[in-house]
Symmetry: C3
Subunit: 342 residues, 3 copies
């Protein structure tokens, strides 16, 4: 499968990669071995020894180098062979290394040309790093489904009204046309601003007593390859937005294979910052909903799509698809440009 290569993909949460022990994860159909050296710096190597193709992830780390457990070749974080117990070290023994960066509590990998791997190109998600631990929660799902199906799911939030009627959906997103905006910085944004609407079920308990109508906002900002920021909040109808708190979230998707994805999500907020119980409740609720409602639906879509190309099945287009279709076209164009350049 053809992926966009010259961009940063989220590979994991920083704490998915412990100080010792490493992490084996398949990304863009490639097995990757992550490990930390003694200084704690993360490295990523193609998880296949150049000798006899043993996974490096079956080995261990010694002097900052990944040691193959089969015959002991050792590779540093740049993929250079630094030890051959059986003869001279030559460049033929090097393994492919990937540029890695650590930012915003996450690990990022650049599967394309290393010369282009500028960490400044990582999407700015500083609010994740800045949030206190009591106002930051996160989760991970290894899900079935092409990553673009997961992206669709967030860009088309009307699904909440049908798939999550008891929690996230109350009908207001469906009743409110979403605005789409293509920004010069590469972001494709969608926003919904339901006015004087019923609040979503999850919000009910948190509103002041007697309030059953709200003005709310949901704002989604996508950037390639699949990094989405989502801000949502509500105030009693007529109140100024400043009075309402914001839930500030990310949904980040990285392809594992053509039909499976890594789904990373996190939630912060700008209110009740030290409420650890609310934080844990939010974490649990989100993990539960995404795991038991979204992922199974996307896995079911994938099963029906099978190996077919999405467009070849001629999906019926609805107005709600505008954002998702823009994103799919953007990704297709980026991939085509990269393929041509190559």
């Amino acid at each position: 499968m053809t992926y966009l290569r010259n961009c940063w993909y989220m590979a994991g949460w920083s704490d998915d990669l412990p100080a010792t022990g490493g992490l084996a994860r398949t990304l863009l159909d490639e097995p990757v071995y992550f490990y930390r050296d003694e200084a704690g710096v993360a490295h990523a190597l193609f998880d296949r020894c150049p000798h006899r193709f043993a996974p490096l992830s079956k080995g261990w780390v010694e002097d900052g180098a990944a040691v193959c457990a089969y015959h002991g070749l050792a590779f540093n974080g740049e993929g250079r062979c630094v030890r051959n117990p059986h003869g001279p070290v030559t460049r033929a023994l090097d393994v492919r290394a990937y540029p890695v960066a650590e930012a915003y509590r996450a690990l990022w990998i650049w599967p394309g040309d290393p010369a282009l791997a500028d960490p400044a190109l990582i999407r700015d998600l500083d609010f994740l790093a800045a949030a206190p631990d009591t106002a930051f929660n996160k989760g991970y799902i290894r899900g079935t489904g092409h990553y673009q199906l997961f992206v669709d799911n967030i860009l088309d939030l009307s699904h909440t009204d049908f798939l999550h009627p008891d929690t996230l959906g109350g009908g207001s997103i469906t009743r409110t046309p979403g605005e789409v905006e293509e920004r010069p910085d590469g972001i494709i944004a969608m926003s919904w601003r339901p006015m004087n609407e019923v609040p979503i079920p999850l919000a009910l308990g948190r509103l002041p007593p007697g309030v059953d109508r709200v003005d709310s906002w949901t704002e989604v900002e996508w950037s390639a390859p699949g990094v989405i920021k989502l801000v949502a909040g509500a105030v009693p109808t007529g109140a100024p937005r400043e009075q309402g708190g914001n839930s500030i979230n990310v949904h980040i998707f990285t392809p594992e294979t053509a039909s499976t994805s890594h789904y990373f999500f996190a939630s912060t907020r700008d209110f009740r910052l030290d409420d650890a119980a609310l934080n844990e409740e939010t974490r649990r609720t989100r993990q539960h909903i995404f795991e038991t409602e979204d992922e199974p639906m996307i896995a079911a879509q994938q099963e029906r799509i099978g190996d077919a190309d999405f467009w070849s099945l001629r999906p019926a287009l609805l107005k709600i698809d505008k954002g998702a279709v823009l994103v799919r076209r953007r990704m297709d164009a980026l991939i085509a440009a990269e393929t041509e350049a190559a």
Copy 2:
């Protein structure tokens, strides 16, 4: 895989499809969603929403229409989109519907041209509907094996002497040449009439004391695509057939995929009509034999055949194959005619 399309396939027993809740079943490699409207009428839709390909079987029924659980499109029993919460309803939002009929306690589906779907073409199995509940029992197996292997199994009953020596086989079918007949109405019939033979083990307990020789009959009538009626009975040698009761059965096979099949079977009789215990005993015995002896053998054949075409493996032909080979040739001709016409 190429299937005969312009014909009725049994899709399930009527009670496989409850008043609410629907039924998802793959038939001829296609996922189908069956549901009943408020009047209890059964409908069948291609189980893939035209929007983003979610299975309709993950949704629910509202006002007689199947609602997609992802973004709420609703489709009536003819596949017409009758609700789009996100904009105008257009014909581009329709989904494929299949003609469905309910007859003889079973659901039937027509995967071909709907204009040709005449319920009068369903094989007459009125004896199933007419039987009292105490003389009707049925079962279902989702089995591994091309449906034609399952059809072979019934058209070549000499297998009972080797595969079911403790129950259905006593050697008499093998010792008695079967008669084959091609009838003008499309039925291919086989019959065996062993005279003065040992009874099959299952019959032993039901014969009058002292009787150890019987005249018996086994009559099989196949029609496309895989609907088989089987009548069997026995009398003490020399007695007139009228004195013997008949076990009257169906074995109906519908392809799920190229290598898996739906096996529906039922048994009625024209004696001891109100004997509920005998009825239950018959049901249990048949389910047990088909599940533990026939299906595993057919699954093992399928494994040995793999993806190969049956004829390409050049099966050795025995006299007992006459009926099964006629049926295979008939099916090949019907499929070829349909393919040419298309």
Copy 3:
């Protein structure tokens, strides 16, 4: 996948095939049914009935013939149909038979031209037969991985220093260049003779108190298709080799499919011949190491290689690969010669 066909492959240990009951095993991608006749002689038939392709292994043996459980055709050990309950026996009903031999406590099969199947071509492993039961132990693993990966594992024993550091490896093999020899009789031999080296961990308990340096030898002799004899021993440094006992072993690999293998191993010795406890301890240790360390590593290599051709991935060559590469080239040449001749 293309295999060398005109040679003897080990198909099992003799006691894998009981007096009654038979054995179904896939070899070189072909399902084979082994059974013994009344005289105990082993036979091997293609495990697929020529009639409707039921596995013969689902049947039984009668009068020295394998009876198909579906419709009762029976085949003798030469594959000749000897009974057709439904009509005349013809040569069209024969099934393929494989030459089988039993030698050195093992079953051998010849998948090539039967006219060439001379039992004298079986590799001489008389030491297996000659060993008393208290100095013979064996095992079997059905492993994931192309058989050549398993062969590599034995021809490149430096892996013991990294994969088995607590048992078989002490670093001495890695520190000692191996000698390779191509012999006129088709054997490719490797040997290591570490002098004044640390003993391997497993040997420590068996050396005289105070001895912490040994002279040792490990000698490996491969012959096609994958039969390896391995002799190893050690003496306190400076002592004559005659004072040391030899552990005399086989590692025999037979392809099951392109990516799975049968791994047969056995161990004998020329010291403490009646020590049944040592024998059992050796058996258990070897089974444990091969099953929990070697096979998982080879399975992991196979997963990384996938369907690719080994050489197409351009493995980096180390000095330790000399023997394994010679063997791979020899096998390629033998297969090419056979393919051309055909």
